[in-house]
Every structure is written in C-alpha cells, then in structure tokens.
Amino acid sequence: MYKACTLASSQLKQLKAALKSNGLIGQSNGTKKDTRSSKHTARDREARAETLNGIREEFNRFDERINRTKRDFTVIQGGKFVRAGSSEHNRAAKLKGTVEKSLASQYSARQLVKNKSGGLLDRRFGAKAGKNLTEEEIMLERFTRERQQSSKSKRSVFALGSDDEDDDNDDGFVLTHSGKALASEEARGLELDEDALGSGDKRYVDEGEEAELNQPPRKKSKKEVMQEIIAKSKFHKRQRQAAFEKTQEDIGDLDDDFTDVMQEINGAISKTVKAPAFLNKTPEELEYDNQVRELTYDRRAVPADRTKTDEEIQNEREEKRKKLEQDRLNRMNGMVEREDAEADDLDDDFWAGSEDEVEGFTIKEDGDKASENDEDDDGSDNEDLKTSRTSIRSKVNAISMPLDYEQFAEQLQLLKNSTEEESFVKKVVQQYQPHLAQGNKEKMNNFVTVLYRHCLTMPKNLDVYFCLVKNLLEKYNEALVNFIRHDINGEIHKRIQANGSLRGFDLINFTLIGMLFSTSDHYHLVVTPTLIIMNEILTHFNTKNELTLNEIGQGIYIVELLFKYQKLSKRYIPETTRFIERAFIYLCPEITKIKVTDLVSVNINPSTVHATNISKSTKYTDSIVPSVLSVLVITGKTISVKDNGVKFALLAKTLGLAKEVVGLYRELLIFFELSLVVKVFTSHLLHYYPNWTELVKFHQVIDKVVHNTTRHKLALQQHRLLAIATFAPKFEENFNPDRKSYDLDVQKQEVSKMQRQLKKEKKETLKDLRRVTRFEARQQIEEKKSMYDAYHKKMHDIVALILTHEGAEKNQYEREKKERKNRK
C-alpha cells in the first residue's frame, strides 16, 4: 500500500482525496442533512473523530507494524492449511497446544480439590519447623498467648454478642490441663506457692483438695503477670543462695573439727604401733640407700662401641672414599642442571662477567659435605676439649701465635731441628682452637696462610709442613684460598705481564695447589685462576721468538702439572699442544728436516736453527741423561746451551709429555691429529737415536695408536624436532561460530555454561509461572463470566416466569373485569 501511494501522488493530494472520500470536506448536500446533523450532533462528532483518526493512522507509516514471516511454510492445523507463525496458527496452537492442555488439566484438578480436601494444621507452639523453642520458652509462649487472648476478650466488652459467645470464640486458645482450664489452676498454684515458701513440699494435689480450692478464675492484668514472674525468679534466686550458704557453713564446721579428729587418730596410732620401720635401719643400710638414690642420678650405662675388625675399618674407609669420589665426580661435571644450558644463556652478560653468571659456574658446596665437616669439627673439638683444657692449665708459658710470616720466621730461627718446629706448630694449633677464644678461627685461618708461605720458601722439611697445611686446610680454608687467589696468583700474573721470569716458588705454588685442592672440578675457586695463570705463562712462552733452556724447562714442568691437574677430568688444554710442539722444535736435532705440514700449531721457518737444538753430532748414551731435573735449576741461573745433559733430559721430559698426551686425550676426536704430531717427532728422533730404548718403545706404541685410531663424523645437531613457532589460527574441529564466547580455559567455560543455564532456567521458570497465572486469570474470568451468565439467565427466567404468571393473572383480571362489566 505504501508503495502504491508514493507512486501515485504526493501525500497532500492523497490526504485531500481521503478526506473527500470520507465526506469530511467538500460540498454538503442541502438542508436535509443539516437537520439530521443537528439532531445527532454528539454521535456525529464521535464518528467524525473516529474517521479522522483512521485517516491519520493510515498516513502515519511508522505506526504500521509488519509481521515478518521468518519461515515461509504451511502447516496443517486443525484440518486447515495455515501459514506457520501466522495469527491463525498461533491461536489454534494456543487453544490446542499441549502446554495449554496440560495447564487446563492441572487447573481443573486443582479446582476439584480446592476447598474440598482437608489437611492438618499444626497449631502447637514451637512445633512448627524453624521455631526451635526450648521447653521453657514453649511454656512462656503458651502462657503469654493465653494471657493475650484473655486480655483480648476485654475489648469485646462492648461487643454486641453475649459474654458466653465471646468465650466460645476464644475457646481454641484456652489452655487446659486434664480437661480443665488452666488459668484458674495456675492462679491457684501461685497462691499455693506463696503459702509454701517455708516448706515448699506441696506439689501434688489431690482431686478433692483441688475441688476445695477451686475458685472462680480471676483474670490478671499484664502488669500483675510480670510482677509475678519477677517475684518468682527472685524467690528462686534466694533459694539458691540459701542452699549455698548452708553448704559453706557445713564445710567450715567440718574444717574446725578436723584437727581434733586428727589428734585423736594420731594418739590412737602411737599407742598401738611403737617403733616405725625406718628408724630400724642400721647405718650401713642407710648408706646403702643413699647410694641407691645417688645411682639414679648417674648416667645410664650405654653399651660400649664394639671394636671394629680390620675388614670393617677397611670397608668404612672405602665407603668414605667412594663418597668423596662421587662428590668429586659431581663437581667435575659441573652442576648437573647446568649441563644442558641453552645457547642463549651465554649472552653478553655472561661475558661481561655478571654476578649471576659468575655464580652459575661456582660449584655448589654439597650441603651434606659441609655439615659433615661441621660434625667432624665438633667431634674433634669435643675430643680435644679435655686435653686442651688440661694442657693449657699445665702450660705456664703459652706460645703466642705468629701473626705474619716474618714473626713465624723469627720464631723458627729459635728452634733447632724440624721435629721441634713441627711440635711448635702443633702446639700453636692446639692452643688456638676456635672454641677456646673468640677470634681464634680467624687467627687459625691466618696461621694456615703463614704456613703455606713458609712452604713456598721450600724448607728442607717441606713434606712435614705440607702435611700440616693439608690437615689444617680441612677446617681453615678461607684465608688461604683468598691468599692464593689474590696475593700469590696476582703477583705471578703481574710479573708475567711485566715480562719477568718465573721464580722457583711459583712452580712450587702450582704444585702445592695441585696437591691440596681438587683439580678436577668444573670450576674451582683456586684451581681455575691457577690454570689461567699457568696457561698465561705457557702462552708467554708460546709467543716468544727465542726460548732459553730454562724457559723450556719451566714450560715443560708447567705442562706436566697441567696434565696432573687434568688427570681425572681430562679437559683439553690447547696451549700445551703448541708448547709441546715448540719444545720438540727447540730441542730436536735438525728440525728443518721435519715435514711441517703434519704439525698442528707451529710454522717452522726452515731457515731457523735454534741455539737450544741438540747438535746432530751428539750421540745418545743412557748416561748422558740425568734421571731427575731440579725445579730450582730451571728457574735459577741461565743454563748454558752447551749443556747436552740438560738438553737430553728436557727432550726426555718432552717425550714423557707426549706420552701423557696420548694417555689423556685418547677420547678426543682430534686424538688422531695429536698423536700424528707426536709420531712425526718420534720417527724423526728415532733416526738419530736408535739406541734410545724408551724412545724406540714409545715410537712403536704411537705407531700402533695412530694406526688404530678411527672416528666418526660429527652429528651434533641431533635434537628433538621442534615445531616452527606459528601464529596462524589452528583449526578446531568443534568450533561453533554461533557461540558467543570462545574461552579456551575449560574451567571458565564450565562456569559460564552453568551461569547461562541458570539464567535460562530462571527465565523459563518465570515464564512458566507467568503463563500459569495468566491462564488461571483467564480461566477465572471465563468462570466468572459463565457464572454471571448463568445467574443472569436464571434471573431472566425467573422474571420471565413471573411475568408470564402475572400476564396470565392480568389476562384473567381483564377477563374478569370484562365479565363483571358485562354482568353489570
């Protein structure tokens, strides 16, 4: 319609047309109409307004509502084809829908029962659920209810009905006992109670007596009732107080009597029993008793430790060793969890030496071990306790602990031989046990460093001092560790930086560190810096253009120590490889004949012959090689390059190092290259010294080793395959685009689901309730309607009946009248 209108003409024209067609504007037809309209003005006006409204509505398009058919299909409803969702369909569905039916049946069922079937109404006080009254409260409730009821009846004084009727009305609330109203009884009981204030025994009453006392009941005011209650509670309280006082009095009396009673009893006993048993004891027996009593305070006897057999001791020692070895292994492998560190861990921070990273490599001291040490500490302390105490008492002139090395050296000069020195040190140690005085621990720590420094001076009894240091180190560790790290190593480092030469005690220091500390650790506070320094020295030698025999000797000694350090951990030290090659090159005769290409690390300039090379003409004899070299000699005065003995000794040592290389680095994949280098030199040397038995043997070994070494290509990147990180949305099989929320969290999902369900249920329930009420209201209206209809019909019938009767009578009357008239 809307479309047609717009197409036809403008709104104004349409409006005019509409008004005209309804006859509201335009010409009117003559006077006839005028008279008519004047007659029916009111009605006319109404009709006019109505049509005007109709036109208005028609022209206001926005008030038009259109029912959209969502699903355009037809259903058979009540034998007719009806469009789904249309009003026809709905009406039919409303009338004949299953819901409606069930509602109707429910309603009719309820209607049937309503006001017809009975139930039990429990009106007992406190019996209703939820009102959990105590016995007393129930009584009170009952009482007040009854009183209220009786007072209510007062209001009905002015009621029109008689008193009796009133009583009848209240009947349900009158309390009864054994079929009689309670009020009268209670009033009587109160009186009784008042009478019985003294005796208080008269609780049960005979029927006859009761009858006697029965008086007409008198209703009490509320105030009276409350006063009664107060009076009653006061009375009970007084009663309780009296009872309490009475018992108190009784107890007092008994107490007074007690002494007399006891006197009497005592007197009686003394008369009957003359000598008590404990007086009977002899002094010996008393003594015995005392001793027994004392024994109870004595320490409980403990079974003595069984003397261990040798085997057991052996086992124990082995077990301890095994544990230590395990600890060592753990340390060697570093912290286990550090092992598979990510490449990213080695970030810039790592090389910047940040604190965290630094600590990442420190080896955690095993908690067990530390505590064990502590225990050991305590144990020995306890053992030492007595001896030290006694010794201190016995010694009048106590020895003072030397605080620095100078003092120590002074004190040593006073002593004659090494045994005295040893006992002196032991005494000092005993006297400065940490538990004897505060600060002793620091002093002992300091003393260990003093002893260590003394060791570095290489005294004749170095072994003795070494043992002392080693034993003390188990407890006093810190100062020496720091001393070695900072003072000794720092000094050596500075000397090397300044191109200085090594001193004898430097080498001794490295040796002692190797003997004292666990050198196989992944990281060790002392050993790692020492390794760095030793390698720094080697690097210094490695880059030097000309080496002296001294330097070669020092280098060889250091390499030997380095290999000793790595005996168990077998870590690779690149610097040694180069040094060993260089040592060979500096010692072998006619080095220029060696094939350079097989060497790993050194470019031999074919023209250079070093002064240290053994000359071709020198022949090898077993006697030419000294069996041992002195550390002091190689760090001492420059060894003449003409000293063939030293040269051979160094060559022999270098060969020894080569042997070590073969032993140590067998597991490495570059072992082939390393051994090949050694082989190059041995075969070269063999050419000159075929009578050197050790060389010949070693050459055979190395030949075999080189021949037997095989290896595989690396496959280091065999990692678990990892998915490439992707940000494309994954396909989810059960994804429902209609669902409003898409939560991956299962728990949240559950919760929201529950909430939704709850809401839905609530809504539906409300809907149901509304539907039911609506239905009921409709039903009631219908019922009322039908009822009114029925009533009207009935009345109408009656009226009609009466009217017929009256009509008949009237007719008769008329006839009568007519007849009478006719008679007249």
Binding site: G334, E342, I532, T577, S601
Partner: protein
C-alpha cells in the same frame, strides 16, 4: 766605517787571541763583555760576530766529548752566546741591514752581503746543533729550536721584498725541517712536534717541501740505511699526529698559524696539499723499512693517512708488498685494513683476495696482538652470503684447527666466529651435523691442510672434530661457550665485538669478582710429598726435585 770597527775592537781581539792560545773557550765574563759591546745600541762594530760564531764548534765539541760534569758552564756560555747573537741579528733584520737595496753603492752591498753571510752561518750553526745528539741532553738545543722558530717569524715579517707581499720563509724552514728529520736527538723532534701540531703553516710547508729532500736522500748513496731509517722514524713521529688539515676550507682557514703576517694563498688549496702529502708519503714509504716500521705505519695508515691523500691508489704497491711480507705474520694482517679501505672507497680490485686471506690463517694469528683487528675484518669479508660453501667451510675448518692450539683468548674469538659463519652459510652445517657420515668410521681428515686454495681444501667433506675438543676446554666458561655447537642454533648471531678483546688478564679479573663460599673442595688423594725421593715414593710429581 770598517776601519773604525777594527780599531774599536782592538782590545777584545787581542784578548781573544791570548785566550785562544790558553783556552779555546771564552769564559762567561769575556763572553759578557763581547755581548755588552754588541748589544750596545751605539756600537757599530759587528766584527765581533766572527769570533763569537767561531765559539760554536768548540762548544759543540765540549758538549759532545765530555761527560755530564762541568758542562753546565759551557751550556750557560752557549745559551748566553746564542741569545746575544739572536738579539743582534734581530736588530739587524729589523733595521733592514740584511736587505739588498737597488740604490745602494758597492760598499753597502758588500756590507749587506757580509751580514747575510754571517746570518746564514748563524742559522746553519743552529741547525747543525739541532741535528746532533749531544752527550748531555742539553736544554741549549731546545733553546736553539725556539730561536729558529723566532727567526722564521722574524724573516716572515721583515725579509719580504714588498710590505704587502704574502711571504713565508720557505728556504729557512725547509732547511730546518731537513735537519730535524735527520736529528738524532728525539727530544728535539718532540719539541718540534709540540709547536708543529699547533700551526697549520708549519704543517703545510713541511709537507709541501718535503718530497724533494726525501727523494734526494734516497737517491744519493751517501746516506746509509740506518740514516734513512732514522729519517723515517722521525717522519713517522711527526706525521703520526693528526694534522690540522680538513676538507672544510673555512675550518682550515680558521686554524692557527705561526706567522701572523699575510700568508700565500696556496696554503689553503686542498688538492695541492693532498697531492704534496701523497707524494711525500709515497716517497717515504719506498724507503727500506724494518718490520717494526711497517707495523707502525700500517697501524695508522688507513685512518690517518689515506683520507689526506689525493689518490690513495698509489699506495697499492706498498700495500701489496706489505700484504705479501711473509717474515712476520702481523704485517699482512695490518695491511689488510688499508687494503680494505682502498677496496671499499677507491674501487681497488685485488685478485685472489680470499686465497690470500686464507693463507693469513696461520697458527700465529691467534697469538697475534692484532687478532681482533683481523677477525673484525675477516667477519666482514665472509659476511657475503654469495660466497661458495667450500670457501667458507675451508675458513671454518682452518680456524677450528688453529683453535686447538690457541690461547684461551683466541679460542674465545673462534667459537662465536664459527657460529656466525655456520649460521650465515647453513650449507656448512654438514661439518657439524652429518648423520650419514657418522655411520662410517674414518681415520684421516679429508681436509687438506697444505692446500692453499680455499676452494679446494675439501673441507666440506670433513667434520669439525676440533670443536668437540673445545667443549672439553679447561676453562669452564670457554667450555660452556663451545657447547653451543651441540645445542640448537637458535641465536641469530653472536656480537663478535664482545669476544674480541679477551685476555688472560680479563679472565683473571672476572675470577677476582667471585666470592668465597663455603669450604673450597680439597684433594682427597694423599700425597706424601711434592717431589719423589727415597722416603716418599708416593709423590705428586716424578722425575723432578727441588
């Protein structure tokens, strides 16, 4: 006029003659009397100049021959003498007595000539002194140097032919420079440098006039190699400082100059300076150089010198020679920097560059002082992804091989370097991960170490076994670093700069920061003694004694 001079000088001359017989050196008192005479404004007798000038050889002889003792007096005399003479000549120059005038008669010309001759002698004497290395490190020489600078200033303002001319006494300065370059006394050179670095005109004329004497010195047979080497050293000492030269004309214009009067415009012609600079350097670099000198000059070449040259390509020959020096491995390393500069900015083509670069990877390189320089460049050269895998593999394998005998600091460089290369050239990963090859066992390394051409070393068939050894490095941090090769290559690249400058010192410093925590682990093996002996068979080290 001359006669009057002679007459008035009679007394001192006789004195002098006497003293010449007894003691060749004048005493301070005698000297003072001469000086007073000469400095007297009324005095016109300049003949005293001659005996005074004759004093210098004697002073020099004294200073050279005698030890430190008693020389202060001689020196004092010398200083007095020099100052006086300077004052005299200063007066003369200011009066214009040294200028030839067209109008003057013959006698006057003769006097001017005589004065000029004396003045030249004086200058020459001073310069001779500068050249010497006297036994006593004399402050006299320093004074003389200062006076030379004063003379240059003096000449610049009074010796020009026309008042308005722009003039710099090039001849005097050139002589001075020549003498300084030949000077055996490095204090003089240093003192010269002190003034030199401040003034642009000194620098300009130094460079401008240098080429000729340098060429002459080299060409003539008189100078021995050691003298040439001395000249080079002095030259290097002077030129290693940053010159005031810039490509910005206005800035250059505002630089300080020694000579305050007007200076020739050529001073500020950029190309002229650059050409002269280049010529001087090319000449000086053709001198026979020691390895040490090579290193010195190469260290500064690419940064200080090449930018100031007009055509740095002319250094090509020198650099190629340096790159091929095989006596010392660090010379080619250092030449690499300048070569790269030439290649980058001046389009130089170097044939077989990578082959040459590959040959530089000698065992010494990881021990070299210049390793960080080299690896920085090497990283740059290998950064192209268009390089063949065989070439990169050769470099990787070679470096790995070098690392097994390198110092800790070298290893620290090599590990991230190889990582970066592997990451950049993933086809080389076969050397790290070869599951097929891991099934067969081989003995010899397919990699040929003697092959000089990196394309034919067969490194791709090899495997990086060396890295496995580095994973067992003695230093815990290095070992952990090496373990990156056994982990997934997740990191895009390592910043090489963080690894280039590690040394044992820095390793030790990082050790110092660690704190003592709990007891340090002890060795539980019981050794009786450090050294073997009869009583102690269970010793730590065998075959050694105290």
């Amino acid at each position: 006029m001359a006669s009057s001079k002679r007459r008035s000088a009679a007394l001192p001359t006789s004195n002098k003659k006497k003293s010449k017989q007894s003691s060749p050196l004048l005493s301070l008192a005698e000297l003072n009397s001469y000086c007073d005479l000469l400095l007297d404004p009324n005095c016109k007798n300049y003949n005293h100049l001659t005996p005074l000038l004759e004093q210098y050889p004697l002073i020099k002889k004294e200073l050279r021959d005698n030890g430190v003792r008693g020389l202060t007096e001689v020196e004092k005399n010398g200083r007095q003498l020099t100052v006086t003479l300077f004052k005299v000549f200063q007066g003369l120059v200011r009066n214009g007595a040294l200028k030839y005038t067209k109008s003057g008669d013959e006698k006057k010309q003769m006097v001017v000539k005589w004065f000029n001759a004396k003045y030249d002698t004086f200058k020459n004497i001073l310069l001779e002194f500068l050249k010497e290395r006297l036994s006593y490190e004399s402050s006299l020489q320093l004074d003389m140097l200062e006076i030379m600078f004063e003379l240059i200033k003096l000449e610049a303002s009074y010796m020009k032919s026309n008042e308005k001319d722009a003039y710099f006494p090039t001849a005097t300065y050139k002589k001075m420079v020549e003498n300084i370059l030949q000077s055996e006394n490095e204090f003089i050179v240093l003192a010269f440098i002190e003034t030199f670095v401040k003034y642009w005109d000194l620098q300009f004329y130094f460079v401008n006039d240098l080429n000729e004497p340098l060429t002459v010195w080299k060409a003539t047979e008189q100078l021995s190699d050691s003298q040439l080497s001395l000249i080079f050293d002095n030259f290097y000492l002077i030129m290693k400082n940053q010159l005031l030269f810039t490509d910005d004309y206005d800035v250059l214009r505002s630089e300080d100059v020694l000579v305050r009067s007007k200076l020739p415009n050529v001073l500020y012609k950029l190309t002229h300076f650059k050409t002269q600079y280049q010529r001087a350097f090319v000449t000086v670099l053709s001198y026979p150089l020691s390895v040490h000198q090579y290193k010195e000059i190469l260290v500064i070449l690419h940064k200080r010198i090449i930018p100031n040259m007009e055509q740095p390509q002319s250094l090509m020959d020198f650099l190629t020679d340096a790159y091929n020096v095989s006596d010392d491995s660090s010379v080619p390393l250092l030449a690499l920097n300048s070569l790269y500069e030439l290649m980058k900015s001046y389009n130089l083509e170097y044939p077989d560059f990578y082959t040459k670069l590959y040959t530089l990877l000698t065992p010494d390189i990881l021990y070299s002082r210049y390793r960080s320089r080299f690896f920085r460049l090497c990283d740059l050269f290998l950064s192209s992804t268009h390089l063949s895998a065989a070439l990169v593999a050769s470099f990787i394998k070679r470096l790995a091989r070098l690392a097994i005998s390198a110092s800790a600091s070298g290893v620290v460089i090599v590990i991230p370097f190889i990582y970066n290369q592997l990451k950049r050239h993933p086809s080389c990963m076969i050397m790290l991960h070869n599951p097929e090859g891991a099934k067969q066992s081989i003995q010899t390394d397919p990699f040929s170490e003697t092959e000089l051409n990196p394309l034919e070393t067969n490194a791709l068939n090899s495997s990086l076994w060396e890295l496995e050894a580095l994973m067992n490095h003695y230093h815990p941090n290095v070992a952990t670093l090496a373990k990156i090769f056994a982990q997934p290559f997740r990191k895009p690249s390592y910043n090489l700069e963080d690894f280039l400058d590690w040394s044992y010192t820095s390793l030790l410093e990082s050790e110092d920061t660690r704190r003592y925590k709990g007891l340090a682990a002890l060795e539980f093996e019981e050794y009786q003694a450090p050294f073997e002996s009869k009583e102690t068979p269970n010793a730590y080290v065998s075959g050694w004694e105290l």
